[in-house]
Amino acid sequence: MTSRRRFLASTAAAAAAAVLAPHVASAQAAAARVVVVGGGFAGTTCARTLRKLDPALSVTLVEANADFVACPFSNEVIAGLRDLKQQQFGYTTLARDGVTLAHSSATAVDPGGRTVTLENGTRLSFDRLVLAPGIDLRWDGLPGYTQDAAERMPHAWKAGAQTLLLRRQLEAMDDGGVVVMSAPANPFRCPPGPYERASLIAYYLKTKKPKSKLILLDAKDAFSKQRLFQSAWAALYPGLLEWVGLSAGGKVTSVEPSSLTFITDFARHKAAVANVIPPQKAARIAELAGVADRTGWCPVDPSTFESTLQSGIHVIGDAAIMGAMPKSAFAANAQAKACAAAVVARLAGQGVAEPRLINTCYSLVAPDYGISVAGVYRPTNGQLADIAGAGGVSPLDADAAFRAQEALYAQGWFKTITAEVFG
C-alpha cells in the first residue's frame, strides 16, 4: 500500500469512527447485561473474566451456596490426607471485579424474553446468558439408588457433606472390610476421578487397614489413563485393589441400600463401605432453559459455546458437550475464559476468533505418585477435537522422581487455579 492510500484509509477510518461514535457511546451507556448461572470453576471464571475484558458490562453471578467446595483433590479428603477446609472457597473477591452476586438459585429461564427467574422471586434480564450449572446425579439412572440411599451409600461426587460421610465410613470400618465402588458409563464428571479415588482409598487401606480390600465395579472396559493406573495398582496395591470391567461383569444393574449390596448380572457384592458414582446429566436448569438435548447434556458451538438449541445462551463446564474435551475443572476454566471473550465480541457485534483450548488433568495414585493427561483442542467439524500429535498421558516407564514431580505439579495446579478463580 502506498503512503497516500494509507493516509486516505486512516483519514476515512477516523471520519467513520467520529460518525459512528455516538452510537457506540449510547450502546455503552445502556450497559449490556450478562447473567452467569453457577459459581463453580466455569461460572466464576467466566463472570470475572467478562468484567476484566469489558468493565462496562453488567455481570451478575447466580449461586445459591455461600461457599464453593472444590471436587479436585476431594479424593484426598476421603482418604484422610487433606482437610475439607482446603477445598472451600468464598465469593467475596467477586465484588472487587465488579461482579454482582445473586445468592439464590435459578428456577426458570425464558430464552425468548431473555430473563432468568430466581428462587427468591427476582427476575433478571439478560442480553447474554451463560449457564455453568454443573451436573445433577440421575436419581432415575440406577435402580435402588435414591437420595435417601446416598446417605448409606455415598456418591461423594459433589464435594462437601458427602465427601466427609464417605471418609467417616472408611474410618469407622473394621480392618478386613470390603470397600465396593461403582463407576458409571461415559460421559460423566471427571473421567479419571473414580480411578484416582480407588487408588487413594487403597492407599488409606494399605497404610491403616491392610487386611481390607477394594473392589471397583465398572460399567465400561476402558477408562482415562487406564494403563498408567493399572500399572501403578499392580506395583502399589497388589491383591488390595480389584477392578472389574464391563466384560468381566462389572456393570452394576441395581443397588440395595439396606444391605449395602451392589447387584450385577453375575453376582451380588456386599460392602462394608459402599461408594456409588451414579450416572449424571447436566443440572436441571439446563433442561428448563431448553439447552439440554435427549442425552441430558448441552450441545454448543465449539467457538462461542453458544447453545445450538437456544440463541443468546452459552453453556460451559461439565454440563456442556465439548467433543474431545473432558469434564474437568481445568477444561471448565479454559472454556470459561474463551466463552467470556466470545460473549464480549458478540455483544460488540464482532466476529469470534477460533479458540485453542488446553486441558491438563492430574491424578494421584498415591500422595507422591502423580500421573497426567493433557490435550490441545480446536473446533473441527462443529466439535472440539484433539489436535493430532499433541496431548496424551504421562509415560508408562517413568521413574519415581517423575511421578513425584507430577504429584507436586498437581498440588501447584490446584493452588494456581483456585487462586485465579476465587482469589
Binding site: M1, S3, R6, F7, A9, S10, T11, A12, A13, A14, A16, A17, L20, A21, V24, L53, D54, A56, F330, A334, K337, A338, A341, V344, A348, G349, Q350, A353, E354, P355, R356, L357, I358, N359, T360, S372, A374, G375, V376, R378, I387, G389, A390, G391, G392, S394, F402, Q405, E406, L408, Y409, Q411, G412, W413, K415, T416, I417, A419, E420, G423
Partner: protein
C-alpha cells in the same frame, strides 16, 4: 508527510490495525472502524490462540506457592525457545511436551510476545 497520517491514527490503534483496514474498500473501512472502536473500549488486546488456557497452571498473579513459573513479563525469545525445546524434546518435560506439540511456530511466537508484554 507519511508520519502525519501515522500520528493521526496512532491513538486509534493501540493493538495494531485490523487487516481489513489496511487492504479493504470503503465498506470494510466503516465496518472495521466500528468493530475496532468496540475493541479499544474493552481495553483488551486480543489474546492469541491458546493463551487464556495457560493460567490454569502458570500463575497469572504473584503469591501462589507452585513450582510452575509465571509467564508474565518474560522475554519473548526465552519463552519461544522453551516452547520449541519442549516440543522437540530438547528439554525434558512432564506435561509441557505434550501441550507444546499443539502449537505451530507462528503460534508459539504470538504466545511468547503476548506473555512477554504482560505486566510482571
Amino acid at each position: 508527510m507519511v508520519s502525519v497520517a501515522k500520528t493521526t491514527s496512532a491513538p486509534l490503534r493501540p493493538f495494531g490495525a485490523p487487516p481489513q483496514l489496511r487492504r479493504g474498500g470503503n465498506a470494510a473501512i466503516l465496518t472495521a472502524a466500528l468493530l475496532w472502536a468496540g475493541a479499544a473500549a474493552a481495553a483488551s488486546p486480543e489474546a492469541p490462540a491458546g493463551a487464556l488456557s495457560c493460567s490454569g497452571c502458570h500463575p497469572a498473579g504473584k503469591g501462589v506457592d507452585t513450582p510452575v513459573l509465571s509467564l508474565a513479563g518474560r522475554a519473548p525469545a526465552d519463552l519461544a525457545a522453551a516452547m520449541r525445546d519442549f516440543r522437540n524434546g530438547a528439554r525434558a518435560p512432564t506435561v509441557m511436551g505434550r501441550i507444546a506439540k499443539g502449537f505451530t511456530d507462528p503460534e508459539i511466537d504470538a504466545l511468547a510476545a503476548w506473555f512477554g508484554a504482560q505486566k510482571d
